[in-house]
Amino acid sequence: MFALSPLVGLGACVVAHVIVSRLAPAWPRARGVIVSVLAGGGVVLTLGCRFLGASAPAPAPGGYVLAWGLTYLALAYTYVFGFFNVSETARRLRLLVELLDAGPRGLSLDAILRAYNARMIVEARLRRLVAGGQLALADGRYVIRRSLGLSVAKLLVGIKLLLLRAPSEFGAGPPPPG
């Protein structure tokens, strides 16, 4: 059962996230996420300590706890960036929700762009980047303030160069026709 502690931790993280978001709606979203991930991590750590404390027959029990910790971090990363952040920022999902609201008649391109367009996308990102301290607005121009986001962006460019042989989806061209 101890091997499932990363999943238990992930469950605790999600429950904590719902509770925190409901009880403290004024908190910045990033703070709610950090508190939730820490809560799940605490559960994994507690289970790991119980495993170490039990007279476990496994050799090198610390190795298991380390592996469960890493697994929890990977799962929590997936929840935060693959699920929560997708619901928060993903363009495809936002477009799907607009189409869901439109019902079976759907929407023309013009109607879609009235509801959701590049200006809205760029302005929302700039707001978040300034609020998160990654950008600063000086004399009407946005400048880099902290390098963390930029480092992540450069890492992604590296992976794109490795897998797509281009620094951007546009340089890579579309996938081959099926």
């Binding site: 091997a3 990363p6 999943l7 996230h17 978001s21 709606p25 496994a58 298991y64 890493l70 697994t71 990977a74 799962l75 990363y77 997936t78 960036f81 693959g82 619901s87 928060e88 920022t89 363009r91 999902l93 936002r94 477009l95 799907l96 929700v97 189409l99 869901l100 079976p104 008649r105 759907g106 023309s108 391109l109 879609i112 959701y116 367009n117 590049a118 200006r119 996308i121 760029v122 990102r125 978040r128 980047l129 000086a138 009407g140 121009r141 400048v143 880099i144 986001g149 930029l150 962006a153 992604l156 794109k160 490795l162 897998l163 797509l164 951007s168 890579a172 996938p175 081959p176 026709p177």
Partner: protein, 169 residues
């Protein structure tokens, strides 16, 4: 060590395949590749266990070992799959940061950013993705959500309601 090693091997295989010919259904191919590697290794472990091979002692054969190995591998693949969405499609946040950095400290104004990041760059490709991925259909010049799209959209709408949040994007 076995799970990260297998993940790195599968990643190397992906790099080779993707550089030669990027699959059209990228996520399906990604899932097939990484789960295929996992299934192959699991079959190998079963075979080694049945053969009682001495060399298999260091491999995750006991139930606790195998569960730890399997969950860590699945976690790594899930985390990579999440990251891959920002590789397959440019993230506007990352693109904005890179564009501002490229000015060498001069920075960019809102109008300059909007000139670069137009609907053609930020919205049209994602609509194409929805159609290509079977989540929406283009019918008589109108985009209509498909059943799979309804399922995904409703799941996320429900999730955000649970959190008490409004529409994202």
């Amino acid at each position: 060590m076995a799970a990260p090693a297998l993940f790195l091997l599968a990643f190397a295989a992906q790099a080779v395949i993707w550089r030669r010919r990027r699959p059209r259904a990228q996520y399906t191919a990604l899932l097939g590749l990484y789960l295929g590697a996992f299934a192959l290794v699991t079959a190998g472990l079963v075979a080694l266990r049945l053969a009682g091979a001495e060399a298999a002692r260091a491999l995750p054969l006991a139930p606790l070992d195998y569960a730890t190995f399997a969950l860590l591998y699945v976690g790594l693949v899930a985390a990579f799959g999440t990251t891959y969405s920002a590789v397959q499609a440019d993230s506007p946040t990352m693109s904005v940061l890179l564009a501002i950095e490229a000015t060498g400290g001069r920075g960019l104004g809102l109008a300059e950013l909007l000139d670069r990041f137009t609907d053609q760059v930020l919205v049209h490709p994602r609509l194409d993705d929805l159609v290509r991925g079977g989540l929406a259909r283009l019918r008589d010049g109108r985009y209509v959500i498909a059943p799979r799209g309804v399922l995904i959209a409703r799941t996320f709408v429900l999730f955000r309601r649970l959190l008490g949040f409004g529409r994202g994007g």
